[in-house]
């Protein structure tokens, strides 16, 4: 009897993925490769498209990287980026966990959680420009909401208080930017965590309840370990987003206040389009940032990897080996 040839549907999958692959190659892969290449060239100047690899013009291949890494402005931007991210991420994850615990607690049965979730997520759908303008108004000088409040309170106590220029000092600028980032993203983080908790079988929480765990114990000993993968996702995406921070600090303060709000991405933008058109240096800075993100993400993935899965695979291999030996 002749075997009927099975229809291979795999080719249709490849066919349908062609538009994505083309778009990815054109708009992601090519720019990334081009950026890597430009980092080793002398490309600079408005409208200039001609470039040469640095050794051909008598320079070290890594000269652009050296220039970036030794630049005081880049170092400051890098430091700022970390400070702003840490001051944003710690309260962000803290509040997100707190609200997650509250909204998912089956014992307290909080009413109207849907409304709260929408309200808390709302800042994430507001544009960065709107938020930047809003906070500029709030922390305006000499007239601004906070200055007005402080002056009003001071008046009550019979004290005359001069308006404080929040945007002229380094730390207030950093803290305000970090707060705006926190305000914009804590709802988003909370939704991710809630999704993770909802995925846990309710019977696990009931088992914990019967075992005698109180709410705090249940949250820290059962809930958090069960959403470890979601936590990893939140941490990595937040880290990447944080190191790529651009819109809020750019729109809120730019390079004012002695570059208090300057981030690495702003530095890259300023190198390329800030007047000097140093495309090569901007590309080198981009590559440095890319490498830092890859290394840090890899470290996080390694630290928070599913060790049980690895152990399980090892165990299964051993069992398989033993079974084969037995045969």
């Amino acid at each position: 009897m002749r075997n009927k040839k099975l229809v291979n549907y795999a080719k249709y999958g490849y066919l349908f993925s062609i538009p994505f692959i083309v778009a990815f190659c054109l708009f992601t892969l090519y720019p990334v490769i081009y950026t890597f290449i430009i980092g080793f060239t002398d490309l600079k100047g408005a409208g200039n498209t001609e470039w040469h690899f640095l050794p051909t013009v008598g320079k070290n291949l890594f000269a652009n990287f050296k220039d970036v890494l030794t630049s005081g402005t880049f170092q400051k931007a890098f430091k700022n980026t970390w400070i702003i991210w840490i001051f944003n991420f710690i309260p962000q994850i803290g509040f997100a966990l707190l609200f997650t615990a509250w909204f998912t607690d089956r014992r307290s049965k909080v009413k109207g959680t849907g409304l709260f979730k929408i309200l808390f997520y709302m800042p994430n759908i507001i544009t960065a420009a709107t938020l930047a303008i809003l906070f500029n108004v709030l922390f305006g000088y000499p007239k601004g909401a906070f200055n007005d409040i402080f002056s009003g309170v001071a008046k009550v106590f019979g004290v005359t208080r001069e308006a404080y220029n929040f945007n002229a000092h380094e730390w207030p600028v950093k803290i305000i930017i970090a707060f705006v980032q926190f305000f914009q993203w804590y709802g988003h983080t909370m939704v991710n965590l809630i999704a993770g908790v909802i995925g846990i079988s309710p019977e696990i929480f009931e088992a914990a309840e019967i075992d005698g765990a109180n709410r705090v114990q249940t949250f820290f000993k059962v809930t958090i370990p069960c959403i470890r993968q979601i936590m990893l996702f939140v941490l990595v995406t937040s880290l990447i987003g944080g190191l790529n921070m651009f819109d809020i600090p750019q729109l809120y303060i730019g390079t004012k206040a002695n570059n208090a709000g300057l981030t690495t991405n702003m530095y890259i933008r300023n190198q390329a389009f800030g007047g000097s058109y140093l495309y090569n240096r901007a590309a080198a800075a981009s590559v440095i940032l890319f490498i830092i993100i890859v290394i840090l993400s890899s470290i996080l993935f390694y630290i928070l990897r599913d060790r049980d899965e690895a152990k399980l695979k090892k165990l299964r291999k051993q069992e398989l080996k033993a079974a084969r030996k037995g045969l």
């Binding site: 079988s201 009931e206 088992a207 309840e209 075992d211 005698g212 370990p225 049980d308 152990k311 399980l312």
Partner: protein
Amino acid sequence: MASLSFQHVYKKYEGGVVAVSDFNLDVADKEFVILVGPSGCGKSTTLRMLAGLEDISEGEIYIDDRCVNDVLPKDRDIAMVFQNYALYPHMSVRDNMAFALKLRKMPKDEINRRVQEAAKILEIEHLLDRKPKALSGGQRQRVALGRAIVRDPKVFLMDEPLSNLDAKLRVQMRVEITKLHHRLKTTFVYVTHDQTEAMTMGTRIVVMKDGFIQQVDSPTELYDNPVNTFVAGFIGMPPMNFINAVINVEGSDVFVSFENVTIKLPERYAVEEVMERDGQEVIFGVRPEAITDDITYVTDHPESAFTADVDVVEMLGAETYLYVTVNGSLPLTCRVDPTTSQSAVGQVVDLAVDSNRIHLFDKDTEQSIIS
């Protein structure tokens, strides 16, 4: 070890849905009580109310004469085994079993002793350092049992603990749990929708339907003397045959007639409850094993014999099921002895009912006529 008492317990949800109605039950110390019934009958809700995982709308639940309506689950001295095991995925088997004890700040030595002892009973000592992910369904089930055992609770609650296991493992674990009950000498309350589990494991069975208790009895009593058609049909596999029949009384003799078949009932049916229904329709119940094709029996009992067409024969090894049709319209199931049965598909066979093992139910109320 504890006794339990449910007194007029109700569970009403918002929107008017009543999951459990007027549930009354006393469970003696060391009893193995099974709550059985179809999906949505309220058995799991009842167990969860006992566990403290659901609020009680009305009534009282007592554990050892202590009303536990407002007592937290952790303070009820109960342990529960869930349908999907509910093991903590990030903890090892040892930690899963020790979790409740650690929360109670028990000394480490005592925790280790209890975990080892439970692991030994359940033969999972070699699995103590594994995570639940690395266990089979049966092993997970044992760990879930172990987690309950180490607590040394007054009452064991089990919510369909064998439902996720394959048929073979289910039989094995059924035996294990029964042994465990004998060994621990503790009160067990076990929920299942599987009547085989109920019949084989329980010392007493509570049959539920639509939130109401239908009957509470020993497995034998439930099987032999069901109080209504629901219990009669729910307990037993294959289920009881129900036939619309008419009672005929001739002198002191009582007959039931259906589809041109007349069966004479034994003397014990010549009682007032039956006699007064002369000419009335009743539901005639007969279990498959009470119908036989054994030629000797059929010949010796012409007063309960009839013929039927054989539609299907299912040979199961130790027994054979005959699916027959009486008079071309009434389907019946018979469980016969494969060593003596000669019946084959397409044949017309002579059958006889063991009239000592029949049941009569009221046509309207579906309650048993003879209590």
